[in-house]
């Protein structure tokens, strides 16, 4: 129990700050295919009976230690040339998937109030050359993206060689959002800000930072004749998007995902309390060991010595003098009448 209290002035002694905490998230391609079981039936890949997306975990998902890291799905717009193709599989689900992502992330447009189409630039003007009608969706877990993905930190490397050479890095395409910063290079939409993923071979897609969603265009694999290969046959990306299941297309995408990395951001709000100990205060301790035979120990029985105390703890009290919080110093601080201290107590929430 303190002997007296030092009043904190809210105008001069309290400040609020916001800190951005980041994390580097590396996701190597070997996690998503080949490490945990035999591709495509990896133990860390979960497929669902509804077949609309596939979940990827960082460890076999039956383990309680496993964390969900992202979902993969594919889709195309109903105005795509792929729509209405013969021998199509899960066509309605693929169109619905595209519509759902575009509805949530881009919203509606036009007098008919139809959903917008994804575009590979920041204009949303539906210019023909930029529209992405056939897409792969990578929906990153909130565990990894936290508040949002850090702009300018996304990099994805995708194998574009043959099915057998999908891991060949020389045949891979790398896309980054290097043009995106906090002040430029993004566009704000219904789903938050998005930036363009581009590389030396052109634009590969877009990334929504707050939503944590990457939209990749199928044109990345336009020159690949065997985007998918299995006992059922060899397919180009367009053929796979029509005749393959969503989970089969997700398998093919995993097979070609060589590397994915980004940094995330968490906002931490803090209150900083400046606790000031003036020269003539806090030089005494109510600790029982402070006195020996009614004399202050550190004064060595010499009345000419000034009182000395060692500050170890700061207690924050409310207006009723009820203890609310305690701050501990990493090491005791010496306090005597010759010095003044300002101790900075930070409370994160």
């Amino acid at each position: 129990m303190p002997i007296n209290y030092e009043v904190i002035n809210p105008n001069t002694d309290v400040a609020t700050t916001k800190t951005l905490l980041h994390e580097v998230i590396p996701l190597t391609g070997t996690i998503v295919s080949g490490t945990y079981g035999t591709f495509p039936n990896d133990d860390n890949i979960k497929n669902y009976s509804h077949g609309m997306f596939q979940s990827v975990y960082d460890y076999p998902y039956l383990s309680s230690s496993a964390n969900h890291i992202f979902d993969i799905s594919v889709g195309f717009d109903e105005s795509s040339p792929l729509s209405g193709s013969a021998n199509s599989v899960q066509e309605k689900k693929k169109i619905n998937m595209y519509n759902q992502f575009s509805q949530v992330l881009l919203g509606y447009t036009g007098s008919a109030n139809r959903v917008r189409l994804f575009e590979s630039d920041l204009t949303l003007d539906e210019s023909v050359g930029n529209i992405m009608k056939e897409t792969i969706f990578v929906n990153l877990s909130r565990l990894l993206t936290k508040d949002q993905i850090k702009k300018g930190s996304v990099s994805i490397r995708l194998g574009t060689g043959s099915w057998a050479a999908s891991n060949n890095s020389s045949l891979a395409k790398t896309f980054t959002d290097s043009a995106a910063t906090n002040n430029a290079g993004t566009l704000n939409t219904a789903g938050g800000d998005y930036g363009v993923l581009s590389g030396s071979t052109g634009v590969g897609g877009i990334v929504f930072y707050q939503a944590g969603v990457m939209i990749l265009t199928s044109s990345i694999w336009a020159g690949t004749t065997d985007f998918f290969s299995a006992s059922t046959g060899i397919r180009t990306i367009d053929k796979q998007l029509v005749s393959g299941s969503i989970s089969g297309s997700a398998d093919a995408f995993r097979h070609r995902l060589q590397n994915l990395q980004f940094n995330n951001t968490t906002e931490i709000n803090s209150s900083v309390y400046f606790c000031r100990a003036s020269h003539n205060k806090f030089n005494y301790s109510s600790n029982p060991t402070y006195l020996s035979s009614s004399a202050i120990r550190v004064k060595n029985q010499n009345r000419d010595n000034p009182p000395v105390s060692y500050i170890t703890t700061i207690g924050l009290y409310n207006s009723q003098n009820e203890l609310l919080a305690v701050a501990k110093l990493s090491e005791p601080l010496k306090k005597d009448p010759t010095n003044e201290l300002t101790l900075r107590v930070r409370l994160d929430y």
């Binding site: 800190t19 190597t28 460890y59 230690s65 964390n67 930190s153 090491e331």
Partner: protein, 436 residues
């Protein structure tokens, strides 16, 4: 939208007390928490969370191998230059240096003592030194979420032993087992609970005894270990040779089994419930003179209990140990009753609540905005017959309950698992629970 105010008896605050059970099995220098197997990974071959029988505090970097680091070059912006070493590099946190003076603490600190002056340097100061040394907008990294918690065993031979070291002209007395010295005051304090806590007693002096200290991190027990719940079992080749319990609920660990065993009924140590420590001093032979290679001892005793539990000792494979207890946690719970009385909560802002195709706006001008007062509500009452509409009734489906503060700011939403039908003449109460 109308708001309803909670009445005096609608908001209840209470505490939910729980006693979580924890069990540790120690065998062949490995610890198994709650009998969970140690999971080997594809990249990290021994333990995916690098935890020897405990809890990973973040459970974040699963099965990682390698390292992640920023390349620093003067005062550049190194967040653009990340390097990943190894087959599956871990996630690392960082902050960018700004004027807020924030930095991340490192997991381990290096403290060095000058051999001549005895002055300590390093420790937490090192990290803050990084903050001072590094340029603005550079990255300050932290540890890679590798923090974990498990029980730790420490054998303190002659617990009160002191080594005298000469620093320059001054002699400094350094305790051989500082953990014991930090507990001495507390042990004497608890001697009112049981005389066995006392550092010195009628026929013992803990300073001169070998003490087996088992430390239990707070994450396993909460505010205290529940008195009467401790159980320590000592097995040799699968057979129980000794069991300790705190049967008196006062911290004394009394050997209760097996029946007729050596030392049965004797106090082998004490438990510090609030601090999470168990101190074992029982030195009688539990293994009938047979040597099983318990570190420096030839035979098994309570001072060799939990041998191999994160103590760096390669312990006998003949012995296994079971250490179990219950914790004590109190969770503050806020319970709120939101009442939807008859005649209330009978309207929805959902556009589908009204019949389709109606003109809601009646008049609008620069100074008038008036909605039509003849808009009809869609009849959603289910009819049992085809071609027949059931008579109209006012009804809504309640799907969410929102909580607002005094300033009418939304502070929480409770979503029902299924929408609940609320008819005009019904009273409904929703019970909302919030663990604080």
């Amino acid at each position: 939208m109308s708001l309803k105010k909670f009445g005096r008896s609608d908001v209840i605050r209470n505490a939910m007390r729980a006693y979580p059970h924890s069990s540790f099995l120690i065998y062949s220098s490995s610890v198994y928490y709650d009998h969970r197997p140690i999971e080997a990974g594809g990249f990290n071959g021994t333990d995916i969370l690098s935890v020897n029988g405990g809890l990973s505090l973040f459970e974040y970097n699963v099965d990682k191998s390698g390292s992640t680091a920023f390349l620093r070059s003067g005062n550049d912006r190194p967040e653009k230059s990340v390097t990943f070493l190894g087959t599956n590099a871990p996630i690392i946190p960082y902050v960018i240096k700004d004027s807020n003076r924030n930095f991340l603490k490192s997991k381990s600190r290096t403290v060095s003592i000058d051999s001549l002056t005895g002055v300590k340097t390093g420790g937490i100061q090192e990290t803050s030194d990084d903050y001072v040394a590094i340029g603005a907008a550079s990255t300050l990294t932290g540890s890679s979420y590798a923090m974990s918690a498990s029980i730790t065993r420490e054998l303190m031979t002659i617990a009160g032993g002191i080594t005298t070291t000469l620093y320059g002209a001054e002699k400094t007395r350094v305790p051989n087992h500082p953990h014991y010295y930090s507990l001495r005051n507390s042990l004497n304090f608890y001697s009112t609970r049981s005389p066995h806590y006392g550092v010195s007693g009628s026929n013992w002096n803990k300073d001169e005894q070998d003490i087996n200290l088992i430390s239990v991190p707070k994450i396993f027990y909460g505010s205290r270990i529940k008195p009467g719940s401790l159980s320590l079992k000592f097995y040799i080749t699968g057979s129980l040779v000794g069991e300790l319990k705190d049967t008196k609920y006062n911290g004394e660990l009394i050997q209760v089994g097996p029946a007729g065993s050596v030392g049965s009924g004797s106090v082998a140590g004490v438990a510090m419930y609030e601090e999470g420590f168990v101190l074992l001093t029982g030195s009688w032979d539990l293994t009938s003179g047979v040597s099983y290679g318990f570190d420096s001892s030839t035979t098994g005793s309570w001072t060799r209990f939990a041998c191999g539990a994160n103590d760096g000792i390669d312990c006998s494979t003949s012995a296994s140990f079971d250490f179990s207890f219950k914790g004590h946690t109190e969770t503050q719970v806020l319970t709120m009753f939101a009442h939807a009385r008859r005649g209330e909560i009978n309207y929805s802002n959902n556009p589908t609540f009204l019949d389709y195709g109606q003109q809601r706006l009646q008049v609008t001008s620069s100074n008038v905005y008036m909605e039509s007062d003849s808009v009809t509500i869609k009849n959603t009452v289910s009819s049992s017959y085809t071609g027949f509409d059931a008579p109209f009734e006012r009804q809504v489906y309640v799907s969410r309950v929102a909580i607002y503060d005094d300033d009418k700011k939304l502070i929480g939403i409770a979503t029902l698992s299924n929408p609940v039908l609320k008819k005009e003449a019904q009273d409904l109460s929703f019970k909302l629970k919030l663990d604080l």
